[in-house]
Each structure stands twice: as structure tokens, then as C-alpha cells.
């Protein structure tokens, strides 16, 4: 069970973040939108990946469907942005359910590989759909006002995190964690694993797609290559795992830190940033393979020795 103080702290952080458009500059707000959307993606990935242990590389498909659902609804049907978001989310959730039922039978690396194939397939399909602008892409109506997008992204992250908070203390979440810990034992104890895995994937798709839709309208342009981008999925995994998969605040904290580190590196040393970013990831995996949340608990128990114990235990 979680203590009270992380919740209080989270509420305070959310209030301060909500004020950024008023006292921050344009650069801060734009960085904020990206960071908040990425945190939402990491948190959405956490619902399936963190709680059930199924590593999905298909979440960028849901992101892409969210961006395209919103873009097509707004450009071809002149629907309002809100309706566009709903269209994108519904398409992504349907895709998650349809794809999830067959491929969530696969376990471990096989599931990951199957989801990896989805991305390429979906990008190819969209590239050949005239309604989606084929491989040229779609241009959305322009709306100035970064502050609105910022607050929308923050609201989405808050709702997504509240959902994960609910999961972490609910019967539903117990089923997800039981599946992660031992799926056969969970089944023998009455957990309908298929039902819980598929709903977790659908829930994950919901938030991922809305994040995609917000990003589409904000950037006013979508194309297949950036909508169905596997590296975006890799970032979700890294951020979630770095923060602490299966925890409530780990993925958010992890992605904020990594976004900030990347931003600093990109402005300081530009071209070599990716290299150093890679180094940060490697160090994180070596010293805190279970994420920052585990690092905090471990450091409280055994101090600095925690870091080196990880190396020993994992025979690195």
C-alpha cells in the first residue's frame, strides 16, 4: 500500500504544472506539452506492460490511429476537435480489442514480436488510404494557443494517472498483477486472464490514442512515418521501465526526468545528445533495473549498497 505523502505531493505538482502557461515562457510550455504527452504515453503503456508484464510494441499503432482518427474526422468531415478525439480513441480501442484477442494468447517475447509487426502493417495500410492522405499526410486546421494544448495534455495525464491509481488498489488491478506474476496460477485461481489482458490493452489504447489526437491538432500535420513510429514506442517502454513499471507515479516521474535530460543534452551538445542519452539509459538499467521507485525503496533500506547489489544480483 502507498503512503499518503506521494498523493499529496502529486496533487501539489499537478497544481504547479497547471500554472506553467501563466508564469512560464513559450519554450517551457512547448517543452511541457511534449513532456506531458510522453508521460501519458508511458503511463498508458504501464497499464498493460507494467501491471500484466506484457511488453507491447503495438502502442505506437494506437497512437497513430489516434492521430489519424482525429485528423481524418477534422479535415474530411469538418467535425470538431473533441469529436475527432473520440473517433480516434474508438478506432484505437476497437483495434486493440480485435488484435488483442488473438495475440494476447502469445506469451513473453512472442507477444512483443507480434506487436512489433503491427506497426509496419498499419503504416503500410494508412499510406495507401486516400482518405488518410496516402503517404503525403494530412494538414489539420491551424489553432494558435499552446496554453490550451498544454492544459489538455496535463488533464489527460492526470486522468490517466488517476486510472492507474484506481487500478493499483482494485480487484481489477489484482487480476492484472496476478497474471504478471504467474498466469497459469492466476487462471487456476479463477482469473479470466484473456478478459483482463484485453481490457488492459483497450484501456492502454484509449489514453494513447487521445494523446496522439492532441499531438496531431497541436502540430497541425500528420504523416504515416511519424504517426506509426516504433521509436516512439521504444521511448514509452524506456520511460516506464526507468520510472518503475507497475507503479502509479514511476512512469510519470521517469518520463519527466528523461525528457528533461534529453532536452538539456540536446541544447548543450546537440549532435552527441542521442549518444549521451543512450549512456544514461545504460547506466539506469545497470544500477536500477527495476526502476526509480525500487531505487527509492532500496536506498531507504540499504543506502548506496543498493546500486551495487543490483549489479551483483543480475551478474553484470
Amino acid at each position: 500500500m502507498m503512503g499518503r505523502w506521494p498523493l499529496v505531493l502529486a496533487v501539489l505538482v499537478a497544481i504547479v504544472l497547471a500554472g506553467v502557461p501563466w508564469f512560464g515562457n513559450d519554450v517551457a510550455v512547448q517543452f511541457g506539452i511534449n513532456a506531458l504527452l510522453l508521460a501519458t504515453l508511458a503511463q498508458s503503456w504501464n497499464i498493460l506492460g507494467g501491471f500484466t508484464g506484457y511488453v507491447s510494441f503495438g502502442n505506437s499503432v494506437f497512437y497513430g490511429l489516434g492521430t489519424y482518427g482525429t485528423a481524418v474526422a477534422m479535415t474530411h468531415f469538418n467535425l470538431p476537435f473533441g469529436v475527432g478525439l473520440v473517433v480516434g480513441a474508438v478506432v484505437a480501442m476497437l483495434c486493440a480489442a480485435l488484435v488483442g484477442i488473438p495475440i494476447l494468447r502469445l506469451r513473453g517475447p512472442y507477444f512483443a514480436i507480434a506487436t512489433l509487426g503491427l506497426n509496419g502493417a498499419m503504416a503500410a495500410i494508412v499510406s495507401n488510404l486516400p482518405i488518410a492522405g496516402s503517404n503525403i499526410g494530412l494538414v489539420l486546421p491551424l489553432m494558435r494557443g499552446d496554453a490550451i494544448f498544454y492544459e489538455l495534455a496535463l488533464a489527460l495525464l492526470v486522468v490517466c494517472t488517476l486510472t492507474v491509481l484506481w487500478i493499483s488498489s482494485s480487484r481489477y488491478g489484482m487480476a492484472l498483477v496476478a497474471i504478471r506474476e504467474d498466469e497459469d496460477a492466476a487462471g487456476s485461481m479463477g482469473v479470466n486472464a484473456t478478459l483482463y489482458k484485453v481490457t488492459a490493452l483497450v484501456l492502454s489504447a484509449l489514453f494513447t490514442a487521445i494523446a496522439g489526437g492532441i499531438h496531431a491538432y497541436w502540430s497541425t500535420f500528420v504523416d504515416p512515418a511519424s504517426a506509426f513510429d516504433t521509436t516512439l514506442n521504444v521511448r514509452m517502454v524506456i520511460m516506464c521501465v526507468f520510472g518503475g513499471p507497475g507503479t502509479v507515479f514511476g512512469p510519470v516521474v521517469g518520463s519527466f526526468i528523461l525528457s528533461a535530460v534529453y532536452e538539456v543534452l540536446a541544447s548543450e551538445i546537440s549532435t552527441a545528445a542521442v549518444l549521451f542519452f543512450g549512456l544514461v539509459i545504460v547506466l539506469a538499467v545497470v544500477f536500477t533495473p527495476k526502476g526509480l521507485t525500487d531505487l527509492m525503496a532500496g536506498a531507504r533500506r540499504s543506502g548506496w549498497r543498493y546500486l551495487f547489489r543490483n549489479i551483483r544480483e543480475n551478474r553484470l
Partner: protein, 254 residues
């Protein structure tokens, strides 16, 4: 008369197997085995390694499907019922290779049973925790309530498997070698525990190599050898049966 020793004559049949067979690519693991379990009975299942005991339990639990024959639970055919639905019907099991949820506390492990067991389980977390606490205390793990499951030692892990299965509120409990690796004192504790469980109205199928325990627990004993049922009945008579002795120790050279 030996066939029904210790069992009340009017007892209802809770589970029945009719000629069930399991083959693994030509190797017959369980061969046309038929038996029935009366309500609140303890049936001991023994046999040398590789006799097909665990395969039989896996078929009743639903993780394996028989190639032939029928399994009936409370009169309904359950061959095609998935494991989680069998749990809802009231069938619970322990695993020979124990399967605790390592990242969860003892309390959470057992609460999973209460949350998803018989009839789909308890819907309220608070109630499930309460049920879990009861069974943890019942199995003698009360001191380790908040310990992580992977921090438990051997005997405590066995108790945890028990508590998890019991929290499901089963009608039929399948125990797969819960005494393996325990010392004499621990075996006696386990025997007492199983007797207490039966006193609560649960029917038990107990796979065990510890003959002393089987003798003191079972109403009836069934012996499997090369997948076939070679003997069944009163424990004392079955354990003295020359065929059973031969299956375990080999033929005496004459």
C-alpha cells in the same frame, strides 16, 4: 465392503472420471482411469514417479484436456471448461512446483483466491482481505501476513499454496505433493491441517509420496502405475497389496 470404508453409504458423488486417457505423442500418461469422489471424502492418490498422478490432477484442474473419457463435476461434464471457470465451479488445486505470486505479499497472494475463486469470487477488496487473513491464520502463516511471497522458506510456501487454494472457497481441493521435502514434525502439522480442512466440508484428492501421511488421512487410496489404476480401496489393504508393493519396489527375485 472395503471399497467404501469410512464413507457414509448415502454420500453424494461430487466428481467422477469415466475412462479418461491422456496421451503425449504416443506416450500414454493416463490410461482409461475411472474413479469417483464422494462429497467430503479424502482420496489418496499414490504411485511411483511418472505414474501419471500430476497429469490426472492437471486434467481435473483443466490445464490439460483428456484425449478420451469424461470428467464430471456435480453431474456436469467439464471436459471443455477452462481452468478459471472450474475455479468458479469450486475446484481448487495446489501445484507440485509451487506457484506463489513472488512480487506480492502473503496477504495479497491469498486475497487473489478470495477475489476470483468460487462463483467468481468476492467483489469487495476489504472483504477479500478479511477472508484472506482468516485462511492465513488458519494455515499458520499469521506471523508472515505482510512478508513477500518469495521471502518465505519451503514449509511456509506450502502453507501459502494451501491458503491461496482455501481462500477460493473450494468444494474440491486437489493437493499435489504438499508434503514433499517436509520433516516429520512438519508432515504431522500438514496432516492435521488437511484434517481440519476436511472438517469444514471440503472434498480432497491428495497426491502424496509420504505413505505415513496417506495412511492416516485417506478414506480410500487409489494407486496409479504406468498410467493405469492398479488398486483402489481401504488404505491398509491397498498398501499391503503385492501389486502395489511391486510397483513401488520392483519384483522380488525368486
Amino acid at each position: 465392503m472395503n471399497e467404501v470404508a469410512n464413507v457414509a453409504p448415502q454420500a453424494k458423488t461430487i466428481m467422477e472420471a469415466r475412462g479418461i486417457t491422456k496421451r503425449f505423442q504416443g506416450l500414454v500418461s493416463v490410461d482409461k482411469v475411472s474413479f469417483s469422489l464422494a462429497e467430503n471424502e479424502i482420496l489418496g492418490l499414490i504411485g511411483p514417479n511418472g505414474a501419471g498422478k500430476t497429469t490426472l490432477v492437471n486434467m481435473i484442474g483443466g490445464t490439460l484436456k483428456p484425449n478420451e473419457g469424461d470428467l464430471l463435476f456435480e453431474g456436469e461434464r467439464i471436459n471443455d471448461v477452462s481452468p478459471y471457470r472450474r475455479a468458479h465451479l469450486g475446484i481448487a488445486r495446489t501445484f507440485q512446483i509451487m506457484k506463489p505470486f513472488p512480487g506480492m505479499s502473503v496477504l495479497e497472494n491469498v486475497a487473489v483466491g478470495a477475489l476470483f475463486g468460487r462463483d467468481g469470487g468476492e467483489k469487495s477488496m476489504a472483504k477479500a482481505r478479511e477472508i484472506a487473513r482468516e485462511w492465513i491464520t488458519f494455515t499458520g502463516l499469521g506471523q508472515r501476513m505482510d512478508a513477500h511471497a518469495d521471502a518465505l522458506g519451503g514449509p511456509d510456501r506450502k502453507r501459502l499454496e494451501f491458503a491461496k487454494a482455501l481462500a477460493m472457497g473450494p468444494k474440491l481441493l486437489l493437493l499435489d505433493e504438499v508434503m514433499a521435502g517436509l520433516n516429520h514434525v512438519e508432515v504431522d502439522e500438514m496432516v492435521e491441517l488437511i484434517k481440519k480442512i476436511r472438517a469444514r466440508g471440503v472434498t480432497l484428492l491428495v497426491i502424496e509420496h509420504v505413505i505415513k501421511a496417506i495412511r492416516s488421512l485417506s478414506d480410500r487410496v487409489m494407486v496409479l502405475h504406468h498410467g493405469e489404476r492398479i488398486a483402489e480401496g481401504d488404505p491398509a489393504l491397498v498398501l499391503a497389496d503385492p501389486r502395489v508393493v511391486e510397483a513401488y519396489l520392483g519384483k522380488r527375485r525368486t
